[in-house]
Amino acid sequence: MSRVRLQKAEAIVLKRHDYGEADRILTVYTRQQGKITVIAKGVRRIASRKAGHVELFTHVQMMLAEGRNMDVLTQAEMIDAFPRLRDDLVRMTYAYHIAELVDRFEQDGHPSPQTFQLLRDSLAALGDADDPFVVARYFELRYLSLIGYRPHLFECAQCATALEPGGAVFSAEAGGVVCPACARTVSDGLRIDDAAFRVLRFLQTREIGVILHLVLQPGTRGQVEQALHGFVRHHLERELRSVEFLNGLRRVARTVDLAPSARARPDTVDAGAGAERSGDPLSELP
């Protein structure tokens, strides 16, 4: 009898597509093995025991059997479904966004416990945050640091002189913010104002609990998003589908209110987190 090798994996489902009659191929990010693809047999049948446990963005404990090309999912038990992502199209789209980032940047089989933790915490925060936009930008900044593309925000990306607060020029090509002297030499400079610059620095250096109640002015949001999307696009050399989708969604949102109904989002801010709301978290910036 051949020995079937079984192993445990703690995973987050990034992507899935249908395969064959009733199977699905899942792209998951695991704590133990990094990004891998596994085949989940029979999960499209309505009575499948595994189906509900391996929906997109669930945090799940898996048992995997070694297969010829791909590992085969033999058991699955959900750890967290992040239910508040699922009743809000905008939060869901940001979840797609961070899953797509991980899927695009990661190679198969390169584990990073920090990436796993960041992904997990960010999905949870996307459900809890006042503004999921902030969580998406936080994820981008922290994730880019983890994979070695940390944008320079404290010293010039070109000549390494310390940057003064105030308006700044962000360049994806240079690798972050450049000093006024170097700003003349970059071709893709994006001028960002003091508020946007401070937000970028804040998100890059703070822990996730602090950002849950951060709400940004529309102008600041636009600049922060433009800078980071430009940066991601520069390194991936392609546009993310979730970004295009979000832009389409924003056009529709002019006529259709996409915010979830009050009933669907009970206010469950605990006392500890509520304390953050009183002060402006940006005031204690470096």
Binding site: A47, G52, L56, M78, F245, G248, V252, T255, V256, D257
Partner: protein, 203 residues
């Protein structure tokens, strides 16, 4: 394909190889099988293919695939035109028809909202559904999209789109819960939670 093959055979092999799940070997096996088949069987297949492309249309009311527009369901006077069941795919209509429980009309979206595949609300027949609301005497809309992330997002979006147009129609979602032959021990918490919320009186 090698030049040793007569061109019509090579063409057919190429055509088969474009189908999902069929590789070059299967494609040549199918082509050679057809070559050896009695003429009338092979011609029946060709006739069926031609008819598929020539006489299948989208019903201009429910957007289901049909031979005529309006389709048989929409044209049937015994069906309740006050209820419309919204589904993702034509195959879902067949599944619902098999139950024999439903006597209303349908609306086929042809997909579900999915950012990963780049399918947004404007790629589906949602505007057409909103338009139907204005001209048909609809009392209830049953959202029968799949109980998946994409299906739920689509249902959510349709609700918003209808409300944004001032519609007060009754909106319902198919019940979700435990499947027949299922096992509570293996149910995920979302399914089990919903089964608990949506529990019904024992009759």
């Amino acid at each position: 394909m090698s030049s040793a093959l007569p061109r019509p055979v090579a063409r057919l092999i190429d055509a088969f190889a474009r189908l999902p799940g069929i590789g070059p070997k299967t494609a040549s096996r199918l082509a050679f099988h057809l070559l050896r088949m009695p003429d009338d069987h092979a011609l029946q297949l060709s006739e069926a293919l031609r008819a598929l492309k020539e006489s299948v249309v989208h019903c201009q009311r429910c957007y289901n695939i049909a031979e005529t527009s309006p389709c048989e369901v929409c044209a049937d006077p015994s069906r309740d035109s006050g209820t419309v069941c919204v589904v993702e795919e034509p195959l879902d209509v067949i599944a619902l028809e098999r139950t024999g429980e439903y006597k209303g009309l349908y609306h086929v979206l042809h997909g579900a909202i999915s950012p990963v595949d780049g399918i947004g609300p404007t790629d589906l027949r949602i505007d057409e559904l909103v338009r139907r609301m204005g001209v048909e005497p609809i009392r209830e809309i049953i959202l029968a999209t799949n109980p998946s992330l994409e299906g739920d997002a689509t249902a959510m979006f349709i609700e918003r789109a209808l409300r944004a147009n001032g519609s007060e129609v009754r909106l319902t979602r198919l019940a979700r819960g435990l499947p027949v032959g299922g096992d509570i021990e293996y149910a995920d918490e979302v399914t089990l939670g919903r089964a608990m919320t949506g529990r019904s009186e024992v009759r």
